[in-house]
Symmetry: C2
Subunit: 301 residues, 2 copies
Amino acid sequence: MANFADRLMSAIKQKNSRVVVGLDPHLQLMPPHLLEDAYLEHGEGARAEACAITRFNEAIIEAIAEDVVAVKPQVAFYEQLGSWGFVALEKTLAMAREAGLIVIVDGKRNDIGSTAAAYAEAYLGDGPLAGDALTVNPYLGEDGLNPFIDRCRGTDKGLFVLLRTSNPCAGDLQDLPVQGRPLYLHLADLINAWSLGTEGERGYRSVGVVVGATYAEEARQLRRQLPNLPFLVPGYGHQGATAQDVVSCFNSDGAGAIINSSRGIIFAYRKRYGPKEFARAARDAVKEMKGDINTALGRCD
Amino acid sequence: MANFADRLMSAIKQKNSRVVVGLDPHLQLMPPHLLEDAYLEHGEGARAEACAITRFNEAIIEAIAEDVVAVKPQVAFYEQLGSWGFVALEKTLAMAREAGLIVIVDGKRNDIGSTAAAYAEAYLGDGPLAGDALTVNPYLGEDGLNPFIDRCRGTDKGLFVLLRTSNPCAGDLQDLPVQGRPLYLHLADLINAWSLGTEGERGYRSVGVVVGATYAEEARQLRRQLPNLPFLVPGYGHQGATAQDVVSCFNSDGAGAIINSSRGIIFAYRKRYGPKEFARAARDAVKEMKGDINTALGRCD
């Protein structure tokens, strides 16, 4: 069974892509005809909306599969439809696996003891919601993360721990001064220690961190401090970061990071081609993003 | 529409109870006959397990309703069954509402911007997963909490922000020294500021905090620092805290805190009466817990 970090680095190399696409199906941004068709079929409500999301994701996954290493469904957008939303999420996970993509479930889950173990079972086990990796929140400390990290040892599963997030108020806690340096640098050392024993053959660990592209200088420092941890990098595109901004998230081997864009890709139709051609718009947008990042890294085909 | 804090304090007074019961349906701890019956009906798998959980919760809710102010379903235990688990959660929420109980959804959700808004819509909106209150994680800072806090202004919804958790490694981040005092005291000031504008008529706010009963001295200090914030207190019973330990979580009015117990109540049958009488065991256990806390506070009927 291949280690998660090895699988991730292998996909980056094979596809010469460092792109993750966030599958965040905002209902208000969806191509209207998909919702209209589903309402006609099932009547208005969560079941129809879940059906529209599934069809949307199916077309998006097919359009982007050859140019991305992973997809990252954001659980909140499924969760707001209740159990029907989870039916859509289960189908989305299955379609992404079928397309050969790595699936990072963006749930930012966290808890302690047997509850953390239940989340780990849900998303890193072998049930219907299981992905290849999960995002988690570190506020509860080591015993809150261990049930997740344990799932990454000797398996093909991975984890991304929130470290330096991309939002404007990220610093409220993350920048608090702890013994002369910001909290997130202190946490980086802790995660570095906690993640020991998840190394693959390519030098990276299966436990990585979330580092926002909107804070390029912080990313540069974290890259030096955590050379072996994969970075999952939000903030590109809609949140304002450019290809140049994300260069500091990579190691000199052009690996070690994957850059996420969500609405900039999946809702690209709103800026080109229109709703009927949402899949083609996503494909072209993802090819541009892939190229922009590779150009900034000097790693074009 | 009654403010959440007013509803909570009114329930405490009316029932003379400060007890919340966690609905955390560990499959391994469930009365075996419930699972066996469900497997016979639906075959083995998530659907049968979700059905067993629903029946279990139905009997537990009926048994405890008159002695508790709230129930707190722990989402992870439903989530690990995928979409069928959410069907069980939706039914559980409806049954608890029907029984006149306040429902605190224990999800520890967190994200930023439109994603946080989607979680808030899921759990504090009016969809099938909506409760009266939600637990959330503060690591992302103010703009990660605002979409949740905004839902508590001018509505009957509430929030509990993780502050000082009950687990052994809680201090890894929460105790880090920030300008001469532990991080959680600094965060307490932030939450105190962010929660302004959610006050009810009884002096409490609809945005409260999670404070573990396993750290009684920290709880005492936080109670002084946050006189107007309701405390949701885990750690009683199975995690080791006693009625004496939780006294420091209350204000002198005997209000301001609710104490959670999960497996000590819902799986009380494992220590008395046996599996067929799990509901009676839960009822007796919850009456004892309610009495123990009231005795410690000097507030017996």
